[in-house]
């Protein structure tokens, strides 16, 4: 249903970007017609004035005078092919997210719209680091990515590695970047070249966007012999150092800061300033990239809390093939739920993680924990709950006969046997 503002514009044959004068009650405003904002009043026409300001003008009882048609949009010209140089080749794969976001006139908020080519063109420093081949695979906000998308990304990375064996930087929304990183890590257990995810907490249409530093840092990291899926994002609030995180260990720990990512149980592999500096051991690149793509998404993640009832548990886990519990402390869930957990564990794999911000599970310390162990609940140790979720989905698909055992093994750096003081 068109708004009254849209009807008003149509009745006066005024189109987007036309230069118009809208007059009512002895007052008039001249400007270019801009797309309506979803949160504007129904009768509001948005005009861009000559001085650049946008304003909302009511069309109620107003007259519109068409002053000039919108200038024809300049014809899109093919982007110049990057100049061949001595720099190493690199692929930037776009999946969407803030890093690829631009103004959305409908909601006024930002949404993924920029292509990988546009991002690369905007980040001029990339041209000094590598010969970039940019490719848009998806255009999704990260919260809209589904397990099938993880598979699609893994397959494309595998193809790219097979083609020329060059590093891949993946532009990704930050909300679920760690999930995707973990998903890629399990699906690509051996890498011929680096796979580095990066994103931004400030959209790239802003002068202060962190995309510049993050992309440059990710590109440098993708030119090393790093054979693990990694995340490269700001190490601090400053635009100076990018931290490299192990993909299976990273968590988005802040909703808005540039240095949003952390690794609660260790997992910072290094940093990128002018050069890449690794300060932890990592798996180097292999001769070829191995792909085991796909997931069984029939897995629940249950957050243990004092008010959780057996009914809640059953509603969340009924019919699931796997359940990850984000338990309290060392991996606990209220004793009043043990019977329900035991019942679930007869047909599904129930894996225990801790909801604490750091540390491992240990079901031997308290009676509550021992009872869970006796109920065939498997410990996921210091695997992050979200990584455990992805791992369980992957194991159910690719190692259906040894899922429970697999949850207790370290496959791609997601599970540690030692933890240290900082």
């Amino acid at each position: 249903m068109p708004t009254s503002a849209e009807q008003f514009l149509k009745a006066h044959d005024a189109r987007l970007h036309d230069h118009v004068r809208i007059s009512a009650g002895g007052r008039s405003h001249e400007g270019r017609v801009m797309p309506a904002h979803r949160f504007s009043g129904d009768h509001i026409v948005v005009l861009k004035l000559a001085n650049g300001y946008n304003i909302g003008v009511s069309c109620e009882g107003a007259e519109l005078e068409l002053l000039e048609r919108a200038p024809a949009a300049p014809e899109a010209t093919a982007a110049d092919a990057p100049l061949p140089s001595d720099l190493p080749p690199l692929t930037v794969l776009g999946t969407g997210g803030t890093i690829a976001s631009y103004v959305d006139y409908q909601t006024g908020a930002v949404h993924p719209a920029k292509s990988a080519e546009e991002i690369v063109a905007a980040v001029t420093s990339l041209a000094e680091i590598a010969n970039i081949h940019a490719e848009a695979l998806l255009s999704l906000a990260s919260e809209d990515l589904r397990p099938d998308d993880w598979s699609a990304i893994a397959k494309r990375v595998s193809e790219l590695h097979a083609e020329d064996g060059t590093g891949v930087v993946i532009g990704h929304g930050t909300d679920t970047m760690a999930y995707t990183a973990a998903a890629l890590a399990f699906q690509l257990p051996a890498l011929r070249a680096p796979v580095v995810l990066t994103g931004s907490q400030r959209s790239s249409d802003r002068p202060s966007s962190d995309a510049h530093l993050n992309l440059a840092g990710a590109a440098r990291a993708a030119l090393t012999d790093l054979g693990e899926v990694a995340i490269a994002m700001h190490a601090s609030s400053s635009d100076d150092i990018v931290a490299i995180w192990r993909g299976t260990r990273a968590r988005k720990a802040h909703s808005s800061r540039r240095d949003a990512f952390t690794a609660p149980n260790g997992g910072r592999l290094g940093s990128v300033g002018d050069a890449v500096n690794f300060d932890a051991e990592y798996r180097p690149v292999a001769n070829e990239t191995r792909l085991e793509a796909g997931f069984d998404p029939d897995v629940a993640l249950v957050w243990s809390h004092p008010a959780l009832t057996a009914g809640d548990w059953e509603a969340a886990t009924a019919g699931k093939r796997g359940v990850v519990v984000a338990g309290t402390g060392l991996g606990h869930i209220g004793s009043h739920l043990h019977a329900a957990v035991r019942a679930t564990a007869r047909d599904a794999v129930v894996a225990m993680t801790t909801q604490c911000l750091g540390g491992s599970t240990n079901l031997n310390v308290y009676r509550n924990g021992r009872e869970l162990g006796e109920a065939e609940v498997v410990e996921a140790g210091d695997t992050l709950p979200e990584t455990a979720l992805v791992k369980l989905m992957w194991l159910l698909k690719h190692r259906p006969d040894s899922v429970a055992a697999g949850m207790g093994e370290n496959l791609v750096g997601e599970l540690g046997s030692r933890r240290f003081l900082d």
């Binding site: 009043g41 946008n54 103004v103 249409d205 808005s256």
Partner: protein
Amino acid sequence: MTLTAGLEVHQQLDCGKLFCSCPAADGSPDPGFSRRLHATASEMGQVDAAAAAENVRDFGYHQGDGNCLVEADEEPPRGPNPEAVEVALQVAGLLGAQPLEEIHFMRKVVVDGSNTTGFQRTALVATGGRLDYDGGSVDIEQLCLEEDSCRRGEGEDEFLLDRLGVPLLEISTAPQLHSPEAVQAAARTMGLLLRACRVRRGLGTIRQDLNVSIPQGVRVELKGFQDLGTMPQVVEREMERQAILATVEACEPGPAIEITALLKKSREAWGCRLPGWASLLGSPESPADHPRLGRELADHARRAGVAGLLQSDELPAHGVSAEEAAVIATELDCRKVDAFILVFEKKTLAKAALARACNRARQGGVPHEVRRVLAEGGSRYLRPMPGAARMYPETDISPLRLAGNAVELPPTLAERIAVLPLGAQQAGQLVRARLDARFHALVAAGGPPKTVARLLLHQLPELRKARLPAPSEAVLGELLAAVADGKLAKEGVEDALAALARGEALPEQAASGAGELDAFIEQLLAERKDFVQQRGMEAVGPLMGTVMGEFRGRVDGALVSERLRVKLGEFLG
């Protein structure tokens, strides 16, 4: 010489920050973080000239109590602060400007480091209106509500976050001011009008920019006036500057050529010919009416990151001999009427600096630009005049409907002065110090107006100056009631305040004052019998001093005088 000027007044509002819950507190120079800003295109796809003129470089930010993650550009903004919108609408009302139906916050791209985001959030709130000032009136073009920028720190490219986000009203007048005095009068009147509303006071809380042109010149924006007193002088200097430069023709500079080999000292140097600009560049020794274009070119070159440039009018100097200058002129293909400029830097930086200086030369005498006002009254180049391309929508804040949002207009300062039961001077002082509301409250509580005025304007400030604690409003009420009831002489207020500050109770001496006074006078008259009989009623004056010496602060002077007359009359029969 006809002047055309428009005034832009920026006034901070006193209601917390515009897009977060921070107070407008002073910051501390604690180290914070560093950022780089990149010029971006507007939603129409253009990059603003002023933004493009800034180099990408590191900016340092210091944080303190007056900022949170929002100012650090680490959290999306909230708001806008409804109180700030209300004040904006009040000011619009006082100016007769009409609010818009719906306002849209925009991002005004500014990548000089003064905003952590790289843009200033601003919304056009109202248009139209008029300001009447002493000697004329001027139309108001627009009123915008925006966030203030960072304060500059000590170092180049260093900033403090405390001022960032303070609500700022930007009021622009039409270019209808035609004399330096009119500019000053309009600015002064605007300042007084703004003070009717909740605005911040003190150094830097109101700033004026001026758009100035003369018939031969173009519109130039002058920023950063130190005070209104110097405004006419600065405007006159700008008019002179434009008149001097108006005759200068643009030139098409020659290419940048390396001249390193021509210099005895081995340092890399590049130069450019400026055709027809011989003797236009000048030096510090040039007369006051010289165009001094050398300084202008150097200001532009510095934007590329060089320390400055050398130019032919000031040679030989700075280690370049007359012989070397002649060789350089030949190498750069200079004729007698041509000038040249030199930059001593490596190729990339030198060429960037020369390109900026040459770009200035291509614009001739008076470019369309923003200039910073200097303390001595002159001005220096700041940046190209920004245009509409610097604006694109602030996506983190929804449009705000103003239609139907009626606000109550506050009384103006003049109206507030008029209702005070005091002389014009005292009333003016109270209102300007924003003490009139307190005055009304204390008078309503029974305080005599003049006593209350003296208390607020002098006695309490004295107490503060002496670093003594001020009594609570309730205790002040009691003290004033005592004066009103005659229990405490108005002269006694000061002593009473001091007593209260010492933690003593309110003196209750006045209760017995009347009886004690009569007794004292009778005794005094008896003691000074001869003198009294000799002087008759004229003895009142000299005796008054003695009585007051005893009763000052306890009994009102008027009462002492009255009782003295009565008793003297009785005594003399």
